[in-house]
């Protein structure tokens, strides 16, 4: 009875966070296949530790596990990670309902931006993705990544600066 309750609770609370979990894993691993592996492993871990979930923000809780699973996976697959980063990346970003901002930016600029983010070191990438795509506050990011709020802020600032430089360099060379 208890087990069914645990399963139901898990499916109702944690499963709906799949989109956030996949997005983070996909940006961290930088390819579809590994992202799926990391997410599935993270979900299994989350299920095993679901008894320890004290309520609160299920998305933040799950993303913490996704992130930890990713670093474990990374240390187990160091060589594969190098090859994955030069692998051809398939393009499966959400394309429906483009925002007005996106209309102003042509597709190739979007490609460049994606490429520039992938070039960022993981510790910058994760902070950027949690902020820009998950809309998390500095405090929430600090809890998930276990770094001080001041470091969250400086990493975000440096990541953005680097992205702007990358994009400016590409544009400058073409002009």
């Amino acid at each position: 009875m208890h087990d069914q309750k645990k399963l139901d609770g898990f499916e109702a609370i944690v499963l709906p966070q799949l989109s956030a979990a996949y997005n983070l894993a996909r940006w961290l691993t930088r390819n579809d296949h590994d992202a799926e592996d990391v997410v599935q492993e993270a979900y299994l871990r989350a299920f095993r530790f679901f008894d320890g979930f004290r309520g609160g923000d299920a998305r933040a809780w799950l993303l913490t596990i996704v992130r930890n699973t990713y670093y474990t996976w990374l240390s187990n697959n160091r060589l594969r990670d190098v090859s994955a980063s030069i692998e051809d990346e398939s393009w499966d970003l959400e394309s429906d309902a483009p925002s007005p901002e996106l209309n102003a930016i042509n597709t190739s600029e979007r490609d460049r931006l994606e490429g520039a983010i992938k070039e960022l070191p993981a510790e910058f990438r994760e902070v950027l993705i949690l902020r820009e795509l998950e809309g998390m506050s500095y405090k929430e990011i600090s809890d998930i990544t276990d770094i001080p709020i001041g470091t969250v802020m400086s990493r975000l600032a440096r990541a953005r600066k680097r992205l702007q430089q990358c994009l400016a360099n590409v544009l400058g060379r073409e002009a």
Partner: protein
């Protein structure tokens, strides 16, 4: 507010993390300064452009995960059911007495576990965080050696105590290296061991407590074993399964006891 202040605070402003007073001051500066104002626009453009780069999970993934979890839940349940079947075989009064004893032992260990947990929970989480950090690029060890006679002297002058360093390669837990870390408000020794593809961080620092039995925690998918022995607090943490981590801890404890 001048340009320098604005540059320092503009990211916090964009992220709505700046307090009201300084937000107003910053907005005033943006009105007056075309350079900062352009910068602000660029940052906002960048921000909303990134906001559109969201990956969606493939359609099959949710189903795949649901299946995996239900399977996991079933295997957990199967353990419980086979236990129940076993109980049916037993004689009823024995069964009742056994259950009572079982409940007594269970609640005694639960109370014991809880009291350990409350004291060590916070530190346990700190230890896990430290372990995770060490696995991030190139933070695992400062001295890379499987030779304890290299690792042990390396700590000299870096710590105010000499950590016991053992190579457990003959037990299939090779020593990989050592590192300085900071836990429980003090510098500590971190020894890194490996089993297959799993790394184990063994954190050691002097403690006032005497020797005691190991206690276990798990947090965020990591297993942690903690004990005190001969004036040292020891914490082993890894993503290795519980059984092998216990085996590792036992080895370290017994070797440590011989050394002292």
């Amino acid at each position: 507010m001048n340009c320098e202040d604005t540059q320092n605070l503009i990211n916090a402003y964009i992220d709505a993390e700046l307090d009201l007073v300084r937000s107003v001051e910053l907005e005033e500066h943006l009105r007056d300064c075309p350079v900062c104002s352009t910068d602000h626009e660029n940052l906002q453009m960048l921000s909303s452009a990134i906001g559109n780069l969201r990956y969606q999970p493939p359609a099959h993934l949710q189903k795949q995960i649901t299946t995996a979890i239900r399977k996991e839940a079933k295997s957990e349940r199967k353990d419980v059911t086979s236990e129940r079947k076993l109980r049916l075989w037993s004689w009823r009064p024995v069964y009742v007495a056994a259950s009572l004893a079982f409940i007594a032992i269970l609640s005694w260990s639960a109370i014991r576990l809880l009291s350990i947990r409350s004291g060590n929970d916070l530190l346990g989480r700190e230890v896990v965080a430290s372990h995770v950090r060490s696995l991030m690029a190139e933070h695992l060890s400062d001295v890379l050696s499987s030779d304890r006679h290299t690792v042990k002297p390396w700590f000299n002058g870096k710590l105010d105590f000499s950590p016991p360093v053992q190579d457990l390669a003959d037990e299939n837990f090779p020593l990989v290296g050592g590192r300085l870390d900071y836990l429980d408000n003090r510098p500590v020794a971190a020894l890194v061991y490996q089993r297959r593809q799993h790394y184990i961080n063994l954190f050691i620092w002097p403690s006032t407590g005497g020797s005691d039995a190991p206690s276990e925690l798990s947090s965020q998918g990591y297993n942690v074993v903690h004990w005190n022995s001969a004036g040292m607090a020891c914490w082993a943490v890894s993503d290795l399964n519980k059984r092998e981590l216990e085996e590792f801890s036992e080895l370290v404890r017994s070797r440590f006891a011989i050394e002292n």
